[in-house]
Point group: C4
Chain length 202, copies 4
């Protein structure tokens, strides 16, 4: 790499553009999980209404995934407001992270289509686990290799680390719940919102 | 959030990038509602012509949704030309708003495929209602919490508010019309164009 | 509009972002016209090879549409390098133009799937006609309403106008050829490349 | 072109935006190759688990393609950090390159669906060949026509050239391996990572 050859680092701007693009597309592709219903039998307003009601589980999956993607996007932005250069390793941590982001429309559609079966929620939450672990690695690597801006104080660094650990913990909880209450396993992710408030005050 | 920790606000630029991306994709994904026709029976130029003509209702749905999305995009731009920072609440108002934007290709395809049934137009217009209400909340929240730029005068604030209320009113009218003239319910949205001219002169 | 209220014009930057986004997506969605083949009968390397060869007409449609979209993207960029503000009418000319751009993956897939039938090429070329006419209107409106930058000399304005007229002429030729040599009708668009060179030297 | 008329060159910024957009979309569209499984027979957790396991070959194809696209994106960025203007020929080299990028979700899905057959890997690797050759042409053309920034030293120019040649070599190796070990042919691309390190030290 040109930058590597010179200083071992490169700037993060183009990566942020790619991240924004992939998030915008992944969030919009979720809608493909809501396939327009194929109605068999006579076409009536009642039949169409019924077909639409059958899509509700898919709609719930879409809403959960959309909100989670927005949370990840926000966390990533916070991280990259505090980083302005990276090396090849940090770039690849982010590329693998994006790979898990790209899989969300698939695992989301899976829980929408076959949400009554635990395995689909395990797959969805393993997808979340990949995202959480790479977000954690991203921050760990960036802090250990001094990619953090000088303007960022220690309290902020610890706060971001805690958010990442808390989220990873929630994912394990969700994987566990997938076996007992599959259809509601993802509800635990809502805890991230009050948790963020609490962690900020520690 | 870093910004929240410091001042309780964050800048709006990255949100605008996400909004632009999601709009570009949602507007383009509308074309997936025009599935290339599956022709059963002998393949002739007449059969293909006929299959293409059958797509016309889907094309009309696409045109309506495309123009409406362009209107929302324009309104959102106007709003965010007058706002340059936001807090977490305003961010989430916008994320939920984007969720409704992402649903448009689905509800548009629904009216294209089964437009003769009132329920599909009710779904489409409930989708529009979500968009209208969140656009209204966006502006209300921004004005009440002083996120508006000082350069924006009072007349402009009131104009934007009136546009939002007018649009919400049109949505209710469209929902009502969905029961009586389903296939033409969305025509009422055309009123937004002369209405905007009138409101500007008040 | 805020800007309209003040000066009757608005800047073109966000429109250019939307245009770039929609082009990137429309150009990439063309690939959906190359559905992975569904093979019936025994799965062998020969059967799969045959299924892939059957996709060649779709690949040709994709290439033609991709190159044409790149041409339109380039023309639009040239136009908006010479314009830096616009009014509501110019905005809507561009929105309707984008509507025709969004339709390209559909009409392209149509010629790929049923290219032996003239009607599909007529549809494709009518799509091109919409694009050509709106590009022409775009430039006409911009020049007549003085939206062109002062740094643009008269020769350039006339050159752009001639390109637009030439392209519209080629579209009419393609529509005509759709009836006689459907599968080769779009070849006439290749003339745009030498034609551009010629017009530049006039 | 306006710019051509004046100086024979144009700036590369808008092209970079288009490239970033197309990469973000192509990388995300890969997920469509993981169609939510259609389960025939009784719906049980075991049946759904089995259906998900059947997707693993598609997932492997997705991962390979995603990582390769990230590699191409990175190479393209390095190239365009060293170029700041281009002419029409260089633009079209890039457009044709993007055409091959757009085809990746198709050829990737093909190896995912029918990976046991050599022909699918040949198609995938021919797609890679197109990408590699155009990346090579891009750099050759840029260096020969003096589009490289003065700040780029000779060692860097040679390094980029070697990477391009090395990658083209790997593609030929992959095409060859497609006939003998189809399912593992793409593994050779992993060599690009250590190879890059070696070439950098030459």
């Amino acid at each position: 790499m040109v930058e590597s050859e010179i200083s071992g680092t490169m700037d993060t701007k183009r990566l942020e553009t790619l991240v924004d693009g992939i998030f915008a597309i992944a969030m919009t592709l979720l809608v493909l999980g809501l396939a327009a219903p194929q109605i068999s039998g006579p076409l009536t307003n009642a039949a169409v209404t019924n077909a639409i009601l059958n899509i509700i589980p898919n709609l719930i999956s879409l809403i959960i995934s959309f909100v989670l993607l927005a949370v990840f996007w926000k966390i990533h932005h916070r991280i990259f407001k505090q980083i302005d250069r990276m090396d090849g390793t940090l770039l690849w941590i982010n590329v693998i992270w994006l790979l898990f982001i790209v899989l969300v429309p698939f695992s989301s559609t899976l829980t929408g289509d076959y949400g009554q079966f635990p395995v689909t929620h395990v797959v969805f939450n393993l997808n979340m686990l990949g995202i959480a672990v790479l977000l954690f690695l991203n921050w760990e690597y960036a802090t250990r290799h001094n990619f953090i801006l000088d303007t960022v104080d220690k309290a902020q660094i610890i706060f971001t680390k805690r958010i990442n650990i808390a989220f990873t913990g929630l994912v394990f909880l969700a994987i566990l719940l997938s076996y007992y209450i599959p259809s509601y396993a993802e509800v635990v992710y809502l805890i991230i919102f009050p948790l963020e408030q609490v962690l900020q005050r520690l």
